[in-house]
Amino acid sequence: MDVIVNGGVEAVRLLLSGDHELWQVIWLSLRVSLTATFLSLLIGSPLGAMLALRPFRGRGVAVSLVNTGMGLPPVVVGLFVTILLWRNGPLGEMRLLYTPNAMIIAQCVIAVPIVTGLTLAALQSLNPKLRLQLQALGATRVQMVWLLVQEARLPLLAAVMAGFGAVISEIGASMMVGGNIQGQTRVLTTATVMETSKGNFSLAMALSLILLALMVLVNSVLTWVQQRQRPL
């Protein structure tokens, strides 16, 4: 119990003292995970819309792959991305390993299936006759998809929250492709693991509480956007 209380006190003290390193870690966590979430939204939501709205051969296989992908172990993703970005690997030329960009790529790989799968589910939860009605109203294909996406905006924002939640809290991939380098690729999760292994439980707890507070903050904003037009 003491550890938690001390952690809380430590967290507040660190935040208030304007600890440069801590703010750097917080900023990097946010930057990496928000960028990865945004990119996975750009990739995953059209992919999910396509899976939901366009019948094609092998669609069933694609859907089950996406569903499996929603539970990809970050460590496995980290390993694959590391191999890809390794100096002698296929993308080694780009010299991305142990940079924030590598972490963004890895987190994207984790979040894209989540956003795709939830977009698919969101669009499939709409009344299938709505598509017919929109077509009958003279909607082009693009207009129809746009209206359906707007109609599914509540579950789609849930998809964004789930994607962000998954990447800001993962550690395996960030550790492997980022390397937890002080001042460069250290984020809240990797720092927490390191402090714990060093026995600095109070500091680790402080970092964890800050991570939780960040998640609450970001999700509150998204929830506000989601619910503001929904009087009960």
Binding site: N127, L130, Q135, A136, G138, T140, Q143, Q150
Partner: protein
């Protein structure tokens, strides 16, 4: 060509099964065509094909004189039509935004959108709901919104797919009347699908009967309801007495038909010896006390026993066994005055002109 829509040899298959096969059907400008038929008969499939929302497996559709092909710009053609389905299918927006939706998809400017939406909101009696969120509407209000959304497009053809069937009876009656009035006043070409005969009668200039994926009959409501082409159609349009027999005499348009021991007279040119089905609508049958002829000028007076009494709203459906079942629809008051009971002997009477003969083989 007067027809705005025409189809020829249209077939639609789902997997191996042919769900619709219509050889020839035209929708004339300004008419209201009511397509009726039981559930699963293919009515909605036909409507979707006409609305260019379901590509036919084979056959041809002409819209406004031009053959619709795979090269046609379907979206542009659909923008000349509008459709209202059984469910309102509104978007999660305000009522006025929903009504203006089709216009906004067509790139109509905001001011014009709102003007036209306002006209139809007012016309359908929901102007006061304009700023309300669509999800907060009752079933009737939502369906009015859906109708306003279609009408605001000022389409060349309006398609209605059972738009009233999910509504409660009073709401439905009011809305059917209102839509009938709007359609008459604007001269809007309308194709509606319904399984409700009363709706077809209230709205249709012409009625088409679809059963088992085939268009069995099309004509004025009068024609279809009094002279059905076969027993199936007869049953669906509410002809409750359908009895097989043979023509045993023919005298200048008055046929005598032998039906299980009784002779029924019918106004018909059916030749001597012809096998027929004698059809009588229940509204055309009168029930008399068991005193035989004399009380009526009707040609046919058949004696029999009451086998069944079923209340039907303000009326009572009486089935009398006259060697074959004859069903009459009479008022509750008449039933009380006659003191009707099962097993009671009565006479069922109907005019020769109320009997429609369907020719059959054998």
């Amino acid at each position: 060509m007067g027809a705005i829509l025409q189809i020829r040899n249209l077939a639609i298959q789902r997997g191996e099964r042919t769900v619709l096969l219509v050889n020839d059907l035209a929708v004339e400008r300004g008419e209201v065509l009511a397509i009726i038929g039981p559930n699963g008969a293919g009515k909605s499939t036909l409507l979707l094909a006409l609305a260019l929302l379901l590509p036919p497996t084979s056959g041809a559709i002409w819209f406004d004189g031009a053959l619709v092909t795979s090269q046609s710009n379907l979206t542009a053609l659909r923008r000349r039509m509008a459709m209202v389905l059984q469910e309102p299918l509104l978007l999660d927006k305000t009522v006025v935004d929903n009504v203006a939706l089709g216009l906004s998809l067509r790139g109509v400017g905001r001011a014009e959108r709102e003007r036209r939406a306002a006209v139809w909101l007012d016309r359908l009696g929901i102007a006061h709901l304009a700023r309300r969120q669509a999800r907060a509407l009752s079933g009737g209000e939502a369906q009015r919104t859906s109708l306003a959304r279609a009408l605001a497009l000022e389409p060349e053809v309006l398609f209605l797919d059972e738009p009233f069937s999910a509504l409660d009876a009073p709401t439905r009656a009011g809305l059917v009347e209102q839509v009938a009035e709007i359609v008459r006043e604007t001269g809007l070409t309308t194709v509606m699908v319904t399984h409700d005969r009363d709706e077809a009668l209230a709205l249709g200039d012409r009625v088409g009967v679809i059963m088992g994926g085939q268009l069995l009959q099309a004509g004025t409501p009068e024609e279809v309801f009094t002279t059905p082409v076969n027993a199936e159609v007869a049953q669906f349009v509410g002809v409750e007495t359908v009895a097989p027999g043979h023509v045993i005499a023919q005298d200048g348009g008055l046929a005598a038909v032998q039906v299980s021991g009784f002779v029924v007279e019918a106004v018909s040119d059916a030749p001597l010896g012809q096998a027929v089905l004698a059809c009588v609508r229940p509204e055309d049958v009168t029930i008399l006390p068991d005193v035989g002829r004399g009380l009526t000028s009707a040609r046919n007076v058949l004696r029999g026993r009451v086998t069944r009494l079923r209340p039907a709203g303000a009326q009572v459906r009486v089935t009398v066994d006259c060697g074959f079942p004859v069903t009459a629809l009479i008022t509750r008051r008449s039933a009380q005055e006659l003191d009707l009971a099962v097993d009671q002997s009565v006479s069922a009477s109907f005019k020769a002109s109320a009997v429609h003969l369907i020719l059959r083989a054998g």
